[in-house]
């Protein structure tokens, strides 16, 4: 049998994205970075058009992690959908939980008890720290330094231990539920978080000490991947990436939810919109989140952690065993769920990646009619071409790393 020559085979699916070399003299080269490449932080394919080592054009290709989460959520009950929504942004599942749950609660007209609200804020801010630490660790690794990666992941481990203690799961905890929380925090929660928070600033300073005076690290970030304010807005950039351009927009301040207006924190803002500013802004956000956590922990009120409405939240197990009515409520909630009044609502939160919004449509039944996500990373990824145009190929790594994309969320 003749040997198969790949070049002789017909290209069955020519790339329909219409990518072609535009240079007439043909001295440009096309290379494809990804979808499996350590520096793309997931499954992102970037088609680069190069002139020498300069990037002339860049086309991101996504969809490799598409799992149809929005479609799946339409076929689960309101409460069940939380579990798949968790898996969108797998580095920050609690932000997803929170945005979706707040949207559903808005439709239902529910106000959760104080304690639930504080625990939500505390957990989401811990999640932001954990997510930023993953970003920090991988960015350090991409810039060629190894030890910082282990420092960052070691700190994150402390947060995951807290999550395990509280929710039973390290990742994808599905902890924030419609009407409150999945369960109350355990007795050792406060000392555990306090111990973590007490050590935290020192440990971040430790990581900073190996970065801030490191000429290799700084040279690889300073002035790289600049984007102007106007372009950032036009491309829908949000979160730390937008604030690095000098725009003071944070959903927690602009459209406070979950009682964020009661907390005292600053919104760090950059000036140049380059990779270095994105790094600075995120580092400062770690300290700001730490501040919010300290306040929330200090003021953590006692009391109920879910609403008393048995039509929405499950009765405690002991009650189910002793009380007929509680058993009926339990049965109804498990088999059918609850109806949500018809309507549509948009609720957004500040996720570690930017404005994470849910446009939820209800038709009055026990399942969501449509759960549209506004994934911040989706829009952030499509600003990469704008940032890398004219840069060197090696700087692409710095740009992708500081954008902090999460492809579970981009592709959903």
């Amino acid at each position: 049998m003749a040997k198969l020559d790949p070049a002789d085979l017909p290209l069955e699916h020519p790339d329909p994205r219409g990518y072609r070399v535009e240079s007439a003299d043909g001295d440009r080269m096309i290379i494809s970075v990804g979808p499996h490449h350590p520096s793309t932080h997931g499954v992102l394919r970037l088609i680069l058009e190069l002139e020498g080592e300069r990037i002339v054009n860049c086309v991101p290709e996504i969809g490799f992690l598409h799992t149809g989460i929005e479609k799946t959520a339409e076929n689960l009950t309101w409460q069940q959908a939380i579990t798949v929504i968790d898996r969108m942004d797998y580095l920050s599942p609690l932000s997803n939980n929170l945005a979706y749950v707040l949207a559903v609660e808005k439709l239902l007209g529910i106000q959760v008890p104080e304690r639930a609200r504080y625990i939500r804020v505390l957990m989401v801010e811990l999640q932001r720290i954990a997510s930023h630490l993953v970003w920090l660790g991988t960015t350090i690794l991409d810039m060629g330094l190894q030890s910082g990666f282990f420092y960052a992941f070691d700190i994150r481990e402390g947060i995951l231990d807290i999550f395990e203690e509280v929710t039973g799961a390290r990742m994808n905890p599905s902890y924030i539920r419609v009407g409150g929380l999945a369960n109350d925090v355990p007795d050792n929660f406060v000392p555990m978080v306090q111990a973590f928070l007490d050590r935290f600033p020192k440990r971040i300073a430790e990581i900073q000490s190996i970065l801030d005076d490191n000429p290799v690290f700084l040279d690889r970030l300073r002035g790289i991947g600049k984007i102007s304010k106007d372009k950032a807005i036009a491309y829908g950039l949000t979160g730390p990436n937008l604030r690095a351009c000098g725009i003071d927009y944070d959903v927690r301040k602009a459209f406070p939810y979950c009682g964020y207006e009661e907390f005292d924190f600053n919104v760090p803002v950059g000036t140049n919109g380059d990779a270095y500013d994105r790094y600075r802004v995120r580092i400062q956000e770690l300290y700001e989140s730490h501040k919010i956590c300290m306040q929330a922990l200090k003021r953590l009120p006692a009391g109920d952690w879910q609403i008393p409405d048995r039509k929405i939240v499950r009765p405690p197990k002991q009650e189910v065993r002793e009380n007929m009515e509680a058993l009926i409520h339990h049965f109804k909630l498990v088999t059918y769920g609850f109806d949500v009044p018809a309507g549509e609502v948009y609720q957004s939160v500040e996720s570690p990646r930017g404005e994470l919004g849910y446009y939820v449509v209800s038709n009055g039944k026990n399942k969501p009619w449509r759960v549209r996500t506004r994934p911040p990373a989706f829009y952030n990824v499509f600003t990469i071409p704008e940032m890398v145009r004219g840069e060197l190929v090696a700087d692409l790594v710095a740009v992708v790393a500081t954008i902090d994309p999460v492809f579970g969320e981009v592709d959903r």
Binding site: E12, H13, Y379, F382
Partner: protein, 173 residues
């Protein structure tokens, strides 16, 4: 800008294209005729709604007209949002593209096209974005089956057809 004032301005300026809707949850919303969409969006940008937050599709099947495209705009300075909802024709779901005004509409509209089959006229590169590009059908439509005959189809990217990773033949090292 207060919702009433915005409503007055928009409906006053586009009496035929814009219809004010109830605003039960904070965000003022308007029904916009697809023909008037680009003009309304341009006007919103002039009013200070500088960011196109999101473009999403909704399928209200079996209701007719079934498709709706929903736009969220954000005014970053005054912290205000506005929502535009376009009801589309069943047979030819078409709406003009906003890529000329906001580049962020480019990937978002591709996604709506991919998952709902809504055509954005004037879009520079209206191709699939999340699904494989040879996919048939639009998965987020309500009449798209969750399970179906596709399960039984052979894998489309069969290894022997892959020109970059051709399998080794029997006996070949």
């Amino acid at each position: 800008m207060k919702p009433e004032a915005l409503s007055e301005r928009l409906v006053g300026r586009f009496p035929e294209g814009v219809e004010a809707m109830d605003t039960p949850f904070d965000i003022p919303q308007f029904r916009v005729a697809p023909a008037a969409l680009v003009d309304v969006a341009t006007y919103l940008k002039e009013l200070g709604y500088s960011m196109l937050l999101d473009v999403g599709g909704v399928d209200y099947y079996p209701r007719s007209p079934r498709f709706e495209v929903v736009y969220h705009f954000l005014d970053m300075k005054r912290h205000a949002r506005v929502r535009l909802r376009c009801v589309l024709d069943d047979e030819r779901p078409e709406v003009p593209s906003l890529t000329g005004i906001w580049p962020s509409a480019n990937p978002a509209e591709r996604e709506v096209y991919d998952l709902f089959g809504v055509v954005f006229t004037g879009h520079p590169n209206l191709t699939r974005i999340l699904m494989p590009y040879d996919w048939e059908g639009h998965p987020l439509r309500k009449d798209y089956p969750l399970k179906g005959p596709r399960e039984k189809l052979e894998a489309r990217f069969a290894a022997e057809k892959n020109r970059f990773h051709a399998p080794k033949l029997a006996g070949e090292r």
